[in-house]
Symmetry: C2
Subunit: 324 residues, 2 copies
């Protein structure tokens, strides 16, 4: 019962709109055990939190630990998080989550110190502590997935701003005459370069009769077309799919130019589902950076893919819980 | 000759494309003496630097000091500055300035420790140390003048990024289908919300026959129309002028939304010539922020005019020279 493991293990969770990942992690970033479950977000916060608590019991039980053997619980969650108080103030992908005191609820149920932070902030911390950004003092993490989010590391620390909501890179206007974004703003980067945008553009082109195998890969159903389908078609050499990705890469490049001219960062780490396209996405973005950003910061920055992939969030949550 | 004044006085300069300001300032920000001269930038770096050195002699002489009575010389300069080495690497408004080792030249000529930094960075530091941003930990300074520049204060310190070039807020794309900017990028905030943009829009409207008194205020010469002329016309109630300013204010608002969603700053200080329009500019920008930025950071930020006006640069240079 006095196992030294107690001081080293953190239970980390990455709560997304579709699934959540939970893992037992050492304070040096070693993943001891990991599982994921569907969030089933439509069932609302109470049901989701109950499932999260069950998973904590499962994970600790499977490893022969009790929940009291954990030094802390660290939760990265999608949405606007008041990190100082551990409250999920709002989350577009978690219906019904409005000012949910997640930290207090989990602490009360488990008796274990709990921290909560935004998932993209966590991923930034994760890449900085254990991934592509080790030893890099000033870096921007951008996740290009269904939506686009980001996290900012300045002087080796997560920069949260006045209320911890900094880093909403996806919700910056790059097309003043563009579409209205789900956030209420106009022409956001997310409306042009996200997975959602890629799927929408593919659906539009298919509807207007473009010759492509995308629809076939989506089993003939237009609403099944996703960024993944487009990526798969591109890998087969489909010209329409390749053009859609090239266009999104160009828009992403514009977003990166803005970040580079503002931050002059040492590194930009690109994560999220779309980053799995690798250089077919990143090279297009790098080209725009070389053409348009100021020369000094453009030459200084390295634009690299995430090293931690789906584990960036949980490992960043661990780094957050372990920081003084 | 052992006057204690020696340890407290800094000679500060703000070198712009049109004029330069020089002042003797105490380390607590008190301006003892101040003068300005035309830069006559077209004469090239050597002539400009000679004029700067003469001004140093003038100012110290007039105050009964010798140049050796100064603790340091602090120069805020327009352009891309390598602040660590005190080099003006390039400057759109100072023709011929390419990798000019200004720090070394001035130190050699005067024997006094010299520091050099970007003018917008200096203004940010100035407002933070002595102006609108006293006691504010995270603030963005944006100067809206002929061009648009900026400086970033994070955790109470100037954030320079990897090479000290951070803060180029004016050169972020907000209109992906817009005009090419002088910097090479497309649809920069500067192409839409700067003094230059306001003058260009007024000239365009006058050329297409708009009914306005702007041309009259520019003595009938289209090329004499500036943002100041437009502002003067607006103050007389000219509808065209008011519409031009409202449009620029809206664009500025879009730029501020981007900064607010990225930085979640406590404060944005708006300086530069255009900020002298006061609330007729700022209220339009604030309205866009209220409509489009995320609610949490939009409610947290104060958008205020510069308090130091034309002295922000020299006072910021003093703060920079005085920092450890």
């Amino acid at each position: 019962m006095t196992a030294p493991i107690k001081e080293n293990l953190i239970l980390a969770m990455d709560l997304g709109g579709t699934k959540f990942v939970a893992a037992l992690v050492s304070s040096t970033g070693g993943i001891v055990s990991r599982q994921y479950k569907l969030t089933l977000a439509d069932e609302g916060p109470e049901a989701v939190i109950r499932r999260m608590l069950e998973t904590i019991d499962d994970l600790t039980g499977n490893t022969g630990l009790t929940s009291s053997s954990l030094s802390s619980i660290a939760i990265a969650a999608a949405g606007a998080i008041d990190s100082a108080r551990g409250i999920v103030t709002a989350s577009p992908n978690l219906p019904g989550w409005r000012d949910v005191p997640l930290k207090d609820i989990v602490e009360k149920a488990t008796g274990i110190r709990t921290v909560v932070l935004n998932d993209a902030s966590a991923a930034a911390l994760g890449e900085h502590a254990y991934g592509a950004g080790r030893g890099v003092n000033n870096l921007i993490y951008i996740t290009v997935s269904t939506g686009i989010g980001g996290g900012i590391i300045i002087n080796g620390k997560l920069y949260g701003g006045a209320c911890g909501s900094a880093g909403e890179i996806g919700h910056t206007t790059i097309d003043i005459n563009g579409l209205r974004c789900t956030c209420g703003n106009i022409g956001c980067l997310e409306t042009l370069a996200s997975g959602k945008a890629v799927a929408r553009e593919a659906q539009r082109l298919i509807s207007s009769g473009a010759k492509t195998c995308i629809l076939e890969l989506a089993e003939g159903e237009l609403q099944n077309v996703t960024a993944q389908t487009v990526s798969a078609a591109a890998q087969r050499g489909d010209a329409v799919a390749k053009a859609i990705i090239a266009k999104a890469a160009g828009y992403l490049g514009v977003g990166l130019v803005n970040l580079i001219n503002i931050f002059n960062p040492e590194m930009i780490v690109v994560g999220g589902g779309m980053s799995k396209m690798g250089d077919s996405l990143l090279d297009g973005a790098r080209k725009v950076v070389a053409e348009r950003a100021f020369q000094l910061p453009a030459q200084a920055v390295r634009i690299v893919p995430s090293q931690l992939g789906d584990n960036a969030g949980i490992l960043g949550a661990v780094a957050f819980a372990s920081s003084p």
